[in-house]
Amino acid sequence: MIFFVLRRSFFAIVLLLIVSAFTFVIFSALPSDPAALTCGKNCRPEVIESNRERLGYDRPLVEQYGAYMKGIFAGRTYGEEGSSIHCSAPSLGYSYDRHECVTTLIASTLPVTASIALGAFVLWMVIGVGLGTLAALKRGRWQDRVATAFSVIGVSLPTFFLGLIFIMVFVIWTGLLPFPRYTGLTENPVEWFMSLLLPWFVLAIISAATYVRMTRNGILEVMNEEFVRLGIAKGLPRRRLIVTYVLRAALVPIVTIAGLDFAFLLGGALVTESIFNLPGLGKLTLAAVINSDLPILVATTMVSAVFIVVANTVVDILYGYLDPRVRVK
């Protein structure tokens, strides 16, 4: 098992190196000149050139990549003595647009995005798996129809539409909730909770829709398995049979997908964060896209990739625990 974990981790690191190289190459190949973007429209060429040199964009690509990777582990100083800017490790570059180290920017968004992702994840798993289980157990009855309808609506609703409707209904019409303004958990837990309630539900409803269907179908499939029949023939009580036989088997693939979906959400919920004005990774990314802030885009892409790769590895390892058939000796 330890060998398996080590091997998977090794491959994860290799994969991240490849991803980082790709990201770097793709963003360098973009037509926009990162140096030109460092100052406004009516910029003198000398300033552009001096900034180019300062930020290292005049070097060959391989050297730039090397400097970038080194920065992640050792920190990086831009420019000469006197007018230099230092970003300490792990440095993911410097945003000229915002005059700040990218790492600092991303670090400030992570608690927000993590709060959104975690709450939405818990909520969607509860709604998705709960409704899916209910639908499967009450197959063909009204509970099943309601769950199926919910799932169809959830899948077809665009995030921005549901988000705007929520704001209209809960904030503008009924005034049940204040207009969302993000507050840190440590500052004021109640306000933190209130400000995230709507985005949690928006994300949860849209993601849960898929999980309702997956859970329902998974359970119905497992119920036809011969081992479940043997469980019934043993005389197991229904509740125990459903929990220890049916759900146990049906949830294995769902856990796998949930892990990846969660990681994806950690990379930032672009639309939801923008609608609810949450200063998370998604909003940072969106702003960077609009402003062509390449250093931030490279960094957020890589951070998202890290989340996905790490989640993949964790899910792979977890799978070994969940399903004895893939357990490695």
């Binding site: 197959r139 063909g140 398995e225 011969e226 081992f227 029949r229 043997l230 469980g231 019934i232 023939a233 043993k234 005389g235 197991l236 009580p237 229904r238 036989y245 146990r248 088997a249 399903d323 004895p324 058939r325």
Partner: protein, 336 residues
């Protein structure tokens, strides 16, 4: 004394294409310790009959009528909770495919222990482990101490069927239903499993109801055989009688379509003409009449009237042919 008495069992599955009459009025008795075989082709209703004994027919629209009396108590009339106490404790079941019958997520020891614990909630963990170890040992799993914590996928098909048998017998049931217990196994393993079932039966004193399409299996371990066709019992007799002097034309065809080792080398293997009938649109009258060579000799009676199971010679047969013709159908010339 009868242990199990099935009276006019009927099972119908409602489907989009119409009602499937899987079992149409089956009655039989089983005495304690007896071994009975139910034989028939696929779709003859033998498995549905077996599943009905524990109410294991599932589906959106299953209609069951008749009685399944276990020591006088009607299983079909019991509450779900009452049936649960019969399942695995008084009547246990061995399934056809051992590769899918065991829960892949739990160790075999846990699954055997669980079968006991369901009906003995007072048993401690230590006791359950002892029982599982003992069961594994009895069904011939080598090194049970090591194997007890392994999962089903770590066992071969034959070994898994032994574990399924261990689960079925852990509560010493009065009746053991074996639904094609050797069909999914290698030929070399089949005999071992049959021997094991026979040995376990001797030890626990259980009655065995063996569902099979394999006449060789029937000859090997059973005393009495019921032949089913299109949801009905067409012949019921002691194995010796049924094999030597089958009365029903269907049984006769079934026996002729089996090749025995001493049959003449280039002799043509006979088969029953036609295919088993659709259970949605059964033929009128005797369901076997479209395939029966004797149907024309009774002036249309076979296509209009369903023959009842009646005493013919030492056994029973459901055929309109007169007794003497049924008994002389083979002229005693069947070479088996």
């Amino acid at each position: 004394m009868t242990l199990l008495s099935v009276r006019d069992l009927r099972v119908t599955f409602g489907t989009a294409d119409g009602d499937v009459h899987a079992v149409k009025g089956v009655s039989f008795d089983v005495s304690p310790g007896e071994t009975v075989a139910i034989v028939g082709e696929s779709g003859s209703g033998k498995s549905v009959t077996a599943n009905s004994l524990l109410r294991l027919n599932f589906g959106a629209d299953v209609r069951t009528s008749g009685q399944v009396l276990l020591e006088g108590r009607d299983i079909l009339a019991m509450s779900d909770e009452e049936v649960r106490h019969v399942r695995g404790r008084e009547v246990a079941m061995i399934f056809q495919d051992p590769l899918t019958a065991l829960n892949p997520f739990y160790s075999v020891g846990r699954q055997i222990g669980e079968a006991y614990a369901v009906h003995h909630p007072e048993a401690s963990k230590k006791e359950l482990r002892e029982i599982a170890l003992d069961s594994l040992h009895k069904v011939g799993i080598p090194e049970p101490g090591k194997r007890i914590d392994q999962h089903p996928h770590e066992f071969s098909g034959g070994m898994r069927q032994r574990i399924v048998i261990a689960i079925a017998l852990v509560n010493s049931p009065k009746i053991l239903i074996a639904d094609e217990p050797t069909t999914a196994l290698d030929v070399t393993v089949q005999a071992q499993i049959l021997e094991l079932i026979a040995a376990m039966q001797a030890e626990h004193g259980s009655a065995v109801i063996l569902i099979t399409h394999d006449l060789g299996v029937v000859a090997e371990i059973t005393e009495r055989v019921m032949v089913m066709y299109a949801g009905r019992v067409v012949e019921s007799a002691a194995v010796a009688d049924a094999f030597v002097t089958p009365t029903h034309p269907y049984t006769r065809g079934l026996l002729k379509s089996v090749k025995s080792l001493d049959s003449v080398r280039h002799e043509r293997l006979e088969s029953i003409p036609g295919i088993p009938p659709s259970l949605i649109n059964l033929p009128s009258g005797c369901p076997f009449h479209p395939r029966c060579a004797h149907a024309d000799s009774l002036a249309g009676r076979c296509s209009t009237e369903v023959p009842e199971l009646r005493r013919v010679g030492p056994g029973s047969s459901a055929c309109h042919l007169p007794d003497e013709r049924l008994l002389n159908l083979l002229g005693g010339a069947h070479e088996r």
